[in-house]
Each structure stands twice: as C-alpha cells, then as structure tokens.
Symmetry: C2
Subunit: 348 residues, 2 copies
Amino acid sequence: MSAKMPTGGRRQPTIHEVAAAAGVSIGTVSRVASDSPRVAPETRARVQAAMAELGYQPNAAARAMRTNQTKTIGFLIPDMTNQVFARVAQGAEAVLAPEGYMLFAFSSNRSPAREIEFLQAARQRRMDGLIVTLSDETATGTVEELRRMGVPVVVLDRDIPVEADIVYSEHIQPIETVVGQLLLLGHRRIGLITASHNIRPGRDRVTGFRRALERAGIPVDEWLVRARIQSAEHGAAEAHDLLTGPNPPTAILAAGSDIFYGALKAVRLLGLSIPDDLSFVGADDALLGELVYPPITVIDRDMVEVGRQAAGLLIDRLKGLDMPPRRIMLGSSVILRSSMAAPRPRTG
Amino acid sequence: MSAKMPTGGRRQPTIHEVAAAAGVSIGTVSRVASDSPRVAPETRARVQAAMAELGYQPNAAARAMRTNQTKTIGFLIPDMTNQVFARVAQGAEAVLAPEGYMLFAFSSNRSPAREIEFLQAARQRRMDGLIVTLSDETATGTVEELRRMGVPVVVLDRDIPVEADIVYSEHIQPIETVVGQLLLLGHRRIGLITASHNIRPGRDRVTGFRRALERAGIPVDEWLVRARIQSAEHGAAEAHDLLTGPNPPTAILAAGSDIFYGALKAVRLLGLSIPDDLSFVGADDALLGELVYPPITVIDRDMVEVGRQAAGLLIDRLKGLDMPPRRIMLGSSVILRSSMAAPRPRTG
DNA sequence: CTTGGCTGACATAACGTTTACATCCTTAAC
DNA sequence: GTTAAGGATGTAAACGTTATGTCAGCCAAG
C-alpha cells in the first residue's frame, strides 16, 4: 500500500485476541477488564500486560448489549455557542464524570425538529439518562418523544407535561427588583425584550415586569413588551424598533444573553449613551456587563450550579431512586452597575 | 406502585416484538427499518404501523455490532464555554448531520488526562471518526492514544506527529500586520499575551510578533512576551503585570479569546483609557470587540468555516478516500477599530 | 403439465461482551 | 488416603441486530 489512510483501517482487538495472547479464556479477560475479584494476581498481571500490548479497549456496543447500560448521558442544548448552556454542561460534567458517566452535548439550534432527532438518537443509543433544554414547550412532538424515552430525564427551566425532575431558575423576582429600581429612578416607559411565551423564562420575565408596574399602579404599554425569539438578531431588531419608535422607552431590559448582545449592539449603532440617553439592563452574561463601558447592570445566575443540580437529580434516578418528580428552584441575583440613572427630562 | 419513576423503567421494544405485532419475521422488520427493497408494499405498511404503535427505535448497540458503524463523530474541545470552539462544532455539525452522522461534543477543560479519557471512550464506543483540538502538543499520552484510534481523525490547528488531516488557521501574518501598524503609530514597547508554546497558535503568534519587530530592527524585550496559558485568568494576570511593571508597554496584544477577556478586564481595573493610555488589540471575539467602548481592533477568523472544512475532510475519509494526509490553511483577518493610537509621549 | 426464473419472506449465523454454571485443582480436615 | 470445601478458570448462552442462504409460491414459456 502506497498511501496509508491516516489513523484509519486498524481493526480494534477483541477480547478473544487478548485471551489468546495471555493464554487464558475470554471469561478471565472479561473478569480482569471489569475488575472482578476471583482472579489470581499472577493471571491478572498477564492479562493486563496483553491488554496493554494490544491496546485493547472493550467494545462498548457489545458491553451495552449485555448489561443494558451505556454509561452515557445526553445533554440537549438549544445553542452551543451560548455560554449559558456551556456552563451548565460544565457543571453537569463535573458531577457525572466521577460516577463514570460520559456527558455528550448536542446542540439543536433551537429547532424542535432537531430536538426530536436527538431524542430518537438518544433512544437508539440507549443512553442512560438525559438533561434537556427544549426550545419550545408547545412543540408536541418533542414532549411525546420525551415520554417514550424510558430513562430518567432532567428538564431545565421548562414547564412541560412530562414526569421528570426539573431544575428551575428564578426569573420573576429579579425582573421585579430591577423594574422597581428603574421606577424609583423615575422611569415610566421601560422596554422589555426577552424570549417568547413558549418557554418559561420568557413568560416569567414578562410576569415579573407586569407585576412591578402593576404594584406601582402604572399601566403596561404592550408596545413596550417584546417577547419573541431568543437571539441576538431579535434583540437588535427589537431594541432598534423600540428606540426609533414615536414614544421610545427611557430604559431597556435585555433579558437573555443573546438578546443582551444584540440589544447592546443596536444601542451602540444608534449612538446612544448609557446611562445618559438610556438606562440599560442585561442578563446572563456578567462578564460582558463588566467589560463594556459603562459597566452594565445584569441579572445573573449560577449556571454551573444549575448543571450540578441537574446532574445530581439524574444520578439519584440512575441509582434507582423511586419517588415523584422533584423540583429545584435556584435563585438569580442582580449585579448593580452604573448603567441605570434617572431618565433625561423629555425635551420633545 | 405508588410513586412512578419519572420517564424511567419502560423497556424499549425490540425487533422481535415488532415482528410479532406485525405477524412477520424479524428479517422482514430489519429490511423495513433499513429501507431495503425486496419487501411487499402491503407488508411494509403493516410493519411500519407496528413500529409506530410500539414506538420502536432500533438498538444502536446491536446495530453497531453487526455493521461496524456507529454513525457517531466525536468532537474534542478544550473548553466548551469558549465560543470559538462552539462555533467550530456548529460548522462541523452542519456538514455531518446531512450525511447521517451525529456529532457529540466533549470538553476536556484543557486537561491532557481528560483528553486521553475521551479518546479511550471514543475507541470503546467505536466512534466512526473524530475531530480533536488538543490542549498540549507535547503530551505524549494523547498522541499515543490518537495513533491507536483506528478511525479517521481530523486535527485542528495543532502540529502533532500523527497521520491525520489537519485544518490550520493563519496566526503569523495577522500578528505581523497588527504589530506593523503599531510600529507605524510609533509604538516601541508592545506586549504580547498569548497561549503557550505547546500549541501551534501560541508559537505562531510569537513568531509573527518577532518577525515584525525584527523587520523593523527593534530588539525583542523578552519581558514583554507572555506565552503561557490560554485562560482569562492568565490574560488578566499578565496584563496587570505588564502594565504595573517598571517599563510598561504602550500597546498590548491579547491574542486569544479568553486572554482577550481577561486582559481587557485588567485594563479596566487599572483605570486605563483605551487608546489614550494604551493601545489594545484583541482576538477571536469580534462581537466583544464591537460592543465595548471604544470598539477594539481584533484579529478574527471564521471558526464556523473551520468546522465545515474539518467535517469535509472527515467525510471524505469516511467515504473511503485513501491518500496521504491533507492540510487546509484558513485565513485570518484584522478588523481595525479605534483602539489603536499613537503612544502618549513618555512623561517619566 | 412440467420447468425455470423470480419475488417475498423466513431461518440462522455471526458480531463481542457478561455471567451463571460447570469443571478442575489445591489444600485441609477427618 | 479419602473427601469436602473453595478458589481459579473455562464454557456457553444470551443480548438485538444484519445479512446470507434457503425455500415456498407464482407466473410464463415450452
């Protein structure tokens, strides 16, 4: 052969080859591979030497077929490029790895169709458990598929009619707090840009927003409430629309990390100065809020902890815990910075 | 049973149950499942109905055992929270999915030990191919493990002694360009913070840096060259050290996205103003560069394209292409913004 | 009416493990 | 010296597929 296929072609050694090399039966090799007792130290050493020599790695498929376990956890996220979900993965991984599970992340790019594909692939691969963040609670196919899973599933921050453990983040209260602050500063027209009503964070943020205004006795101008898609593009478009409208808000809440980027970019493009021309509040990306000038007030939450908690719930189920679905609610905090100020008196 | 284990416990139906339900043999079910011809339309319909009824999903492990294919590609990245790698995953996914492959991402958190664990897991799972970004070219265990893979591997932006296809990014030239610009502006002391010599990007950036200075006949002050760890912490620490030293640079190149964040944060904390007190250049996060004030000059590259190219190389190998390792070099661009200016005349 | 060709379906042998069971060999106790 | 106990190892079935070989039926041609 003149051209070698890079790192390809080599067949993986099987338990039989190891057995032959060590001069024992495959049963013995299997016992050594899975750290069973009942094997003589001398034999064990010989087998281990053969395994090392051949570079033997047990075939997970064959193993899975016998044991009905894959030691694999699937993690479905709407968007891999979003740091928020990446941090959750990090937290989950930290809990799962020591238990011998591998976490494989899959990004759906916010497409319910891709989510269904993933769930089917996960079922085909007989993954032992799942952590999922759906991009649309109202997509029935996804929920249906989730019901068929047959393995423990932990849902993140969504309300769906499925028997599963859930980790929630607090969204209502922090928005209420921030809107309260803005009202105190004198703002009366506050814009909210967030995710759609089809996912819990979107709904809750709108709820918090309304509550704060109602408590202050201020009617909600529906034009100022933009609950649509969770994306930078949406954030930019809505911010632009709000700020160039006939009666623009004096403050904007960009609730969602992507929306935060997009809205901030739109503000920059319009040449508005924060907080002189506009008060601005972001969410879920404390670092960005810190790096820009002026530093921006941000609603933040510990996503790594979300991942840890989710993995914890999953581990319990994998260990056979049998009880009704559990719910964990994790808090959010408001990091106050200098992006909020009293509104400039109307000059029009 | 009083408490039901959420979404757990349900055994998955097998091909036998589908066969029984449809009143055919398992062979026929298998042929329907894999879209073989040679099955009567009426029979096909009956089998499909049974599959839908039972929610049948073929067991991937059993399938893999027979076919020696898992339709799974592993993607090893140093850090999931880094957008750079997430974008690569996105690009790769876009190419792989239409070919029927699933991409599973795994983050090593820059630990060679975790990388070895992943490679072994990938081999156990008999993944069909791999895209890998190692965190240290000099870690021998990783390379050794890579050699044993037996399936096509595409390496991203690393020089390692393995027969594999590689996708490179251009790092020397953009640094040279930027340093050239800074020299033109009058800078003579320029600090470089980047990754260590153990990975190609770190080495190349230092090379570009030296070349630009040499061409201008300026000796390199080694104190100004900080090629260490690719992390925000390192970026912050080195920037702080440089800027508080006895003879600080008048310009800083923060070459690497994490380093960019960290260094920028350090500059903020020191209360320095860009570009008046300091010229500043970032890398790999064009969006951040755009959002901060003033907008920051950034060395950028199209990571989604990197992913696409890598997946393309992999697909070719999976289709049986047999030729010596291929190398693809992708360009980088410099996005000029207002963070570079003439150095302030020395007042000391 | 037989034969040959063809189609659709079935039966069955792998694939590489794990594990219950069988077997062999020591060693110790009677 | 026989036997029982027990530890170490071997044997073989099963897991859920795919693919190969086989066979039954049917139609057309001789």
